[in-house]
Structure formats: C-alpha cells, structure tokens
Symmetry: C2
Subunit: 334 residues, 2 copies
C-alpha cells in the first residue's frame, strides 16, 4: 500500500497510533491544531534541524528507521550542548505519495526508539506529499535548570575537552560510500553505527553544565575545525589543538588505513560526530573529566587550550608546529 492509496487522514491516524504515548506533561498530543504541554519549568529550550534525502542521507546506505532516529538525535545533541533536558518533539515530514506505507512506519519506529531512549514525547507535527525526496524536520523542546552553558564563555588558558571519539561518523560515511571494504564486520559496524545512529550526549551535557566547572560547550555537527571556530568567535578567543591528542577509535584507524586516509583529517573536519566540545579552567578540568567518565562511562579527552584571539585557531603537530586543516563542512560552499 502506498501513501497515495492510504491518504492523509489514515496516515495521521497511523502515526498517532504508533507514537501517541503522551508523557505526564503532555495535555494534548497528535490530533488537534497544536500540541499542548503543562510547562511548570521556568525555561524553554527550542531547537530544530532538517534532514534532506540526498543531502544528509541516501536511501541506498541508510534505512528510514535510522534516519528517523538520527533526525531526533541531532536535535537531542543541540539540547545536550546547552546542558538541557529534552522533553517533547514535533515531526514535520514531506514524503513522496508513491512510497509504501511501511516507509513511514520505519521512520516513526526509529523516531519512537530514540524518543523512548531519552524520555521524549512525540506530540505533533505535519505531513505532506513531496514530489521527489524525503524531507524530515524535527523540532525539540526542552528545559534547563539554571543558566545554560553557552558557546561564548571560553577564556584564554581554559582547557579544551571532548567527549567520546572523533572522526568515527566520517569513517562510517566513507566506508559506506566505498563499500565493500575488506575489514572485520565488527570494525565496520562501529563506524557505520556512528554515521547512521549518532549517540547524543544528553546525560554528559547535563552533568557538565550542572558541575559549574565548564565555561563553554557546543556539540560537534560540522566537524571540530568549524565548530571550535564558533566557540572561539563567540568567546572572542583563539584556540590551539594538539592533533596527537585527538581521540580516534581503533575502528576509525582501521578504515583509514584501508582507504589510505589520515584519520586525523576525519577527526578535525569530518563532522556528524555529535560529541560535545567544552572548556574549563586547568584547575577544574581534571576533576570534571573524571566525574563525567565515572558517571556516564563516556571517555573525556583534553585536546588543547583556549588562546588569545590574536593567535587564531591552530592545529599543532607533535613538534607543536601549526598544520593546515580542511575547514570542515559548510552546507552552502562548493
């Protein structure tokens, strides 16, 4: 059965049946003109992101279940980067009428899985027929208990830290585009999963903010080079990153060897890792890193230092010499 045969009303009913498990704060979910939440919190965080077929994903290498999960995950990552707690999401979906109904089922299965993992209720949205490709826009609302952790608070002398490993998603993307690679399936699974199903660092972000020890935070969506430049610009600083300190997974190194690529280029410019980059004073950074590791099991690595603005953003090799790096992803640049 195609979506064109099912029709809009039956489609909305189908979606409602699949996702309408309203949380305690949801007074009205899918089915009226707007969703209504009880909102006793004094703060409201809002963020939105679009995933476009052929731009952010290709159906040849990714299932719609993964696309659904990822569309929510990238928004969760934005809330994590403020140290917030995600609460409710809206889903605007444009999809060709010729697609089978199972495509929408798959997409919402992924959305619902990711939502359940983070205690998020899917409360509404919009559906329309797209002439050619799937377009999925998720909007996430959350809250933050006190001031959020912004991009603008880094100061010269602060230590730069990241969660998890860098370049894994880029390795996964490269491995999928250049498949098949002669590598163990466990190795490929690690990098494929990082690309298809990023793990937003929601608990980590909340903990880092609540500690009071961090000075700035941002999530890594366009690559360290681009995103650290945002932190430096908003903070009015420069930054120095030691390439040798960047955390790179063994699986990423294996894919890089197979493809003849320097894995550090993925770590610096690859994008879509959805790890957190944050800053803290040298006094407070070690205890903060240890606490995040202990409470979440997620690695935290010191990768460099915030510097005066006059020094710009520098990536340094083992001999502390600046290395030119690719600037990372720009949606519009050719």
């Amino acid at each position: 059965v195609t979506l064109g045969e099912l029709g809009e009303r039956a489609l909305i009913e189908r979606i409602r049946d699949r996702v309408d498990a309203p949380g305690p704060r949801v007074l009205l979910g899918i089915g009226d003109d707007a969703a209504l939440m009880a909102w006793p919190e004094p703060s409201l965080l809002l963020t939105t992101d679009t995933l476009l077929e052929e731009v952010h994903f290709r159906r040849a290498t990714t299932t719609l279940r993964d696309v659904g999960a990822k569309a929510l995950a990238v928004n969760l990552s934005d809330v994590a980067a403020m140290g917030g707690v995600p609460c409710v999401a809206l889903v605007a979906l444009a999809i060709p009428a010729r697609c089978p109904v199972s495509d929408v089922d798959d997409l919402y299965a992924g959305l619902a899985e990711e939502a359940a993992r983070h205690g998020v209720a899917l409360v509404g949205g919009d559906t329309c027929a797209s002439p050619d490709r799937v377009v999925l826009t998720v909007t996430l609302a959350g809250t933050v208990d006190g001031p959020p952790l912004r991009r603008s608070g880094a100061r010269p002398g602060d230590v730069i830290l990241v969660t998890g490993a860098l370049g894994t998603a880029a390795a996964g993307f490269a491995a999928l585009e250049r498949a098949p690679l002669a590598l163990p399936s466990e190795t490929l699974a690690i990098v494929h999963d990082a690309h298809r199903r990023p793990t937003p660092r929601v608990r980590e972000g909340s903990l880092i903010r609540a500690s009071g020890a961090a000075t700035a935070m941002m999530d890594l969506s366009d690559g360290l080079a681009t995103d650290l430049a945002h932190v430096a610009r908003e903070s009015g600083t420069g930054a120095a990153v030691r390439l040798g300190a960047l955390p790179v997974a063994e699986a990423t190194r294996a894919v890089a060897r197979a493809l003849g690529v320097d894995p550090r280029s993925w770590a610096v410019s690859g994008g879509e890792d959805y790890e957190l980059v944050f800053t803290a004073t040298p006094d407070e950074a070690p205890a903060l890193a240890a606490r995040v590791r202990a409470e979440t099991g997620t690695a935290v690595t010191v990768i460099g230092e915030i510097r005066p603005a006059s020094e710009g953003i520098r990536f340094l090799d083992e001999a502390a010499r600046p290395v030119a790096v690719h600037p990372g992803f720009d949606h519009f640049a050719r």
Copy 2:
C-alpha cells in the same frame, strides 16, 4: 552573490542581523545550539508546518517574501485555532546554493513582517543547501491561558460559525494559475492576497476561547468539507451546513463568474482560507458572534448546525436537500 558564494556562516550572521530582535522573554536567540526562553507561563503550545516549493507555492506566482509570511501565518492560524497566544518561532530553511542571497533576504523580510505583526520573536532555526527546491518549516511556540478550545467539544444542536469569507484563497490560486483575467485589479488583489498572504485569526481565536461560549474550534486549512469532518469525528457528531449561508466575498464571485466556476465549490473544498470554524450553543452563539465582530471587525457567520453522528456531514441546498461536495484537499491522494 549566490548562497554558495556567501557560505553558511555568513548566511547565518545575515539572518541573525535581520531577525534578532529578541522579545522580553527571549534569553538566547539565534547563534547558540538552541534558543532559550524564560517561560513563566504554565502552558506550552507547539505547532509546525512545512511549505514546499512546487507543492505549496510556485515561484512564478508568489514572491519569497509572501512565502516567508505565509509559512509563519499558517502556524499562527494553528495557535489561533486553540485560542492561544503565539510567542516565539524557529525557521528551518533548505534552499539551493545557486539562489541569490536576496532570496533569503526576501524570505526573512516576509517572516519578520508577519512576526512583528503578531509580536512573535524569531529565535532560531537551521539552514542547509537543498539540491533543487525551497523547503521552509516553521515551528511556533505559544501559550494559552486556561484550557484550549479543542476540536472535540461540539455537541448536537450547537450552531456552526465561521470567521471571514470562504473560498477567497482558492479563487486567488485559480486566478493566478489562469492569469491574465479581464477583471478589475482591485478584485484580483483581494483574491491574490488571500492566497499569498492569509490573515491568521489570532485575536479572534483568543476572544472566542476566552468567552467560554464556544464548544469546539479549528482553523480551515484543507477546506471546510475536510476540516469540519475533523471536528465532527473528534466530537463524535455529524453536521449540516447550508450552502446558501456560506460567506463568499464579492471578489470571489467575480473570479468564479470569469472562470465559469461555482464559487460555493471553492468555499466548501478550496482550502487555505485560514479562517476559524467554531461551534456554540444556539443560546450563546449570537452574542459571541456579535462580540467578535465588534472587537475585531471580522465578520462571523452562522453556516449550519452540529447534528447527531448518524446523520453524517451534509451540505444542503436552498431546499434543504443534501448536495454531493468534493471532499477537499488530501496531501497524498491523487
């Protein structure tokens, strides 16, 4: 200068310069991972809608300024339909890199105009390059002071009322698609404007809800036949509408005559009028209608009556005989 030449960062800065006039409740607008609002209200209304080029608009007949305004207006209409007050909006834009930067300026000029008209702050969003067409998703957050007015509260015997006139937007769409028509420019301007720049009935919706006299409300986006069926289904009722009672503007009648169309078909099935349909008991309806007219200047017309579910949804001619009507717009049906 194209968007590809400008690049993503400069584009975001440009948007930020144009729209970042944060309202009193906006703690963080464009430029961080998520927007942050002080939210002392106990309720949160959320709604989202996508406008797709070649589906919802064509650049040959509509400016991007109008598209920007309309993308916000259709969301304002959803908040109006709950009797809510709109507060802040997010904009997710996918647009081809080959487009001139002035396209984005035009789009945001329209968004900013509509936002200013309703006291809404544009607080964030997402931009990405689209391979072929413009895709604009706006998410609107608002609040409602007490229980919202739902679709589900209509009861048999209630009177059905609508704001404004019906079929004007459909007349405008038809006039644009069949241009040039030999009609006075003032006539064409009325119907073109209704199609390009719908007027969300925000004050009217808030007043209707606050009166306590209305039993159900919804905005008319897909046409009266489709949308009244939603109200009836959610309320567990039927409905009877007198075709002769439908408010149709003189300009709509003139376009219908020029095109040889029955204007009542636009009023019933045309869609995109973004008027409000609401219900009230026969005792309370006259005073409610008079009050909305007096306080907003907007026409309010009684068009029929809520009936038991067993009678279904009927459209009646002058002799009270049921007439078959087109079911209205379904995004997926062919």
